[in-house]
């Protein structure tokens, strides 16, 4: 099973180490983790994607809640939510292939954000499936470098994960 957690933490030094350390110590598998501060500078939000069996995932929530710096933990996997990832892909591109690449990028509603003599950088946001798809589509041209942010997610509608919840 794969679960997505929305986690609010105190924006204290070391908080990322505490969370990451908990995962490594207990042998939980982090698929992706993204973290940055929220509109409240004292609070950071982490989106954590974890792969594991049901009992393991239950423990993840409980152990996270035990950390003093963790304010909220919510498993939003089964709640309606929007999730996004941003990817930057540096791909081989010369005058012969640039047109084809632009077409593909267009289809995925991505953007070309840098053009060099032999390379282009493509930027795409989307859910995991879309990111995987463009990666595959660009592979034949030769991907030189690729960087993904990891997933960020937010529940749809009025549901929230807030400090006051």
């Amino acid at each position: 099973m794969r679960s997505t957690y929305s986690v609010l933490v105190e924006n204290n030094p070391g908080v990322l180490a505490r969370v990451a350390g908990l995962f490594s110590r207990r042998g939980y598998n982090i698929d992706s983790l993204s973290v940055s501060r929220t509109d409240d500078p004292t609070v950071s939000r982490m989106t954590i994607v974890v792969e594991g069996e049901k009992v393991v995932l239950e423990q993840v929530t409980k152990q996270l809640r035990k950390l003093v710096d963790v304010i909220r933990v919510r498993d939003i996997t089964d709640e309606p939510h929007v999730d996004r990832e941003l990817v930057l892909i540096k791909v081989n591109a010369d005058s012969g292939t640039r047109g084809d690449i632009m077409q593909i990028v267009e289809i995925f509603r991505g953007r070309i954000v840098d053009v060099g003599e032999y390379t282009s950088i493509v930027e795409v946001t989307g859910d995991e499936g879309k990111i995987n798809a463009i990666e595959n589509a660009l592979k034949p041209f030769g991907i030189i470098e690729l960087v993904r942010t990891g997933k960020v997610a937010m529940q749809r509608g009025t549901r929230t994960v807030l400090v006051e919840d």
């Binding site: 933490v9 105190e10 030094p13 070391g14 180490a17 505490r18 350390g21 908990l22 110590r25 009992v55 239950e58 423990q59 409980k62 152990q63 809640r65 035990k66 950390l67 003093v68 710096d69 963790v70 304010i71 400090v163």
Partner: protein
């Protein structure tokens, strides 16, 4: 700000400690904590100078386990701080309230690999409940207050405060931090009423109920309610190593310790019960053995302050999160149970058939423990243990009747724990008799603390069950490694002479008839005493559940 209102960080720390009611610190100085030691010079907090920081942590831990109040230890940066690590991990595994204070290099040098720099907050992250690096002297009052609050509430545990030298030397005005505001930390006390009701219903249906009680009962001060519960529903009570003392050892419903070295009757009872009431326990692997076979005929109710324990190792039918004492008070109201009389009879039969017994020939370690146990009944006493066979024999044969009087490293199993812990216990309980039950291996792990005991006139007694082996490891080698005694035979010093050299008393005992007179002499002595019992060399702790087996399948 007027300069006469300004205090150093060290002075502020001492103020804060006094506000928390701290009357003793176990520690060891060094450069990075000098401003704190300088402030202590003027205070009336007792500082006990141990001879190793590990011992300071264990002593603070012993103090905490004996009193229920947080133990405080202190060390300098770098090696001082890392020497605390085993003691902090020991406290963490056994949920002991502790505040460890360490010095750190000045903030300007942090991250530069400065002399005696160690990232102690990083190192102790997995073994503390929480930890702090103080970056500003103005934060000190808030942090100290939070540290004590976190260490002592909810599931207790160690909290570390790392204080850079410029912070403890820096000056500011002392200001009370006001109320604690921790958004991510709100321990819950009362159990959910619906769950308590559901538990009561399950209990009412039980025919063969059994209570499995642990250290959580002692931590929450629930011993009296546990007893009420057991007597109301006529359930026998098995305890964990950490739970020893939470139920009177001389009570007819008492079954003693369960698990790897539990008595046969205890493990059989666990195996056959139809309701397991697990209270303040965590289903440690030494308790459950093979998990699938543990209490496999029983519905399980689990009561604990830490919700993360539910379903961690064993699936449960009803889990109640809350303070054990509060939950038991709620649960005991309107409780009924209709146990099958045959259940008690069966257990009584097992007890007769499979008593915890041992040979009377020669000098047996179990005989030493029984004799000491008999002699101490009716007196105020505390027992600590080291780790190994000595610990298990003490757990099996000592009759402990009240909480906080059996003190042992359960979770981490730390050799070298018992003696410094006994020092902390004796500081906490100056009028009580304190015995450390030791192995000849374990006692040598912190033997230097004899100086501490002598210096502070702490008449701690150590009963060394001297078998010339790392006994428990030798036992495993005998049973599971074809008697290949690799690195477990010990060549020991003369413990009597060692004791005398330190300014303590030493007694050697070689015959069983000498046990009692020697113990009497130790009890009467106002000095620390090493009792060197030369016991049968290859005595084993029986029964034993082989690792990975079901607990009903014991050897011996």
């Amino acid at each position: 700000m007027r300069s006469e209102d300004m205090l150093t960080g060290g002075q502020i720390l001492v103020e804060c400690l006094k506000n928390e009611g701290v009357d003793v610190i176990f520690g060891y100085p060094g450069g990075a904590v000098l401003p704190i030691y300088d402030a202590l010079y003027d205070s009336d907090i007792l500082h006990v100078l141990t001879r190793h920081e590990q011992a300071a942590a264990h002593a603070a831990d012993g103090y905490a386990r004996a009193t229920g109040r947080p133990g405080v230890c202190m060390a300098t940066s770098g090696p001082g701080a890392t020497n605390l690590v085993t003691g902090i991990a020991t406290a963490a595994m056994d949920s002991v309230p502790m505040v460890a204070i360490t010095g750190q290099v000045p903030t300007t040098l942090i991250g530069k690999d400065a002399f005696q720099e160690a990232d102690i907050t990083g190192i102790t992250m997995p073994i503390t409940k929480h930890n702090y690096l103080v970056r500003d002297v103005n934060d000190l009052p808030r942090i100290v207050k939070e540290a004590f609050y976190i260490a002592t509430t909810g599931r207790p545990g160690p909290v570390l405060i790392d204080i850079p030298r410029d912070v403890s030397a820096g000056k500011t005005e002392y200001r009370d931090p006001g109320p604690i505001g921790l958004r991510g930390y709100m321990p819950r006390l009362a159990g959910e009423p619906a769950k308590v009701a559901a538990a009561a219903k399950l209990i009412a249906q039980a025919r063969r109920p059994l209570i499995y009680a642990g250290g959580g009962v002692i931590n929450s001060g629930a011993a009296e309610y546990l007893r009420k519960l057991a007597e109301t529903i006529m359930a026998p009570v098995a305890v964990t190593l950490m739970g020893i003392g939470c139920f009177p050892g001389d009570h007819p419903l008492f079954l003693g310790m369960l698990g790897m070295h539990g008595a046969r009757y205890t493990n059989y009872a666990v195996n056959e019960c139809d309701l397991l009431l697990a209270i303040g326990v965590r289903f440690d692997d030494r308790v459950t053995g093979k998990v699938d076979s543990f209490a496999s005929h029983a519905k399980v109710i689990h009561i604990d302050i830490d919700p993360a324990e539910f379903g961690k190792n064993v699936p449960v039918d009803i889990s109640i999160a809350g303070d054990v004492r509060t939950v038991l008070v709620d649960l005991i109201k309107n409780l009924t149970c209709n146990p099958d009389p045959a259940w008690q009879e069966k257990i009584a039969r097992w007890k007769k058939e499979y008593p915890l017994d041992y040979s009377r020939e020669g000098l047996r370690p179990q005989a030493v423990i029984r004799e000491l146990s008999d002699m101490l009944q009716g007196r105020q006493y505390r027992v600590t243990t080291e780790v190994g066979q000595n610990q298990m024999w003490a757990a099996q044969h000592f009759c402990i009747t009240r909480p906080r009087s059996f003190i042992s490293s359960g979770g981490l199993g730390t050799m070298g724990y018992g003696f410094p812990a006994a020092i902390g216990v004796q500081v906490a309980c100056p009028d009580e008799l304190v015995f450390d039950i030791a192995g000849d291996g374990s006692i040598q792990m912190n033997i230097q603390e004899l100086t501490t005991a002598v210096n502070y006139e702490l008449p701690v007694n150590v009963a060394i069950l001297n078998n010339g082996y790392l006994g428990m490891v030798r036992q495993w080698q005998e049973l599971f490694y074809n008697r290949r005694y690799s690195q477990t035979e010990l060549t020991n010093p003369d413990f009597v002479k060692v004791a005398e050299a330190f300014g303590a008393e030493g007694l050697r005992v070689e015959k069983s008839a000498e046990i009692r007179p020697a113990l009497e002499q130790a009890i009467a002595s106002s000095k620390p005493v090493f009792l060197d019992f030369i016991v049968e060399r290859e005595e084993n702790v029986m029964p034993i559940v082989p690792p990975g087996e079901a607990i009903s399948r014991m050897l011996g």
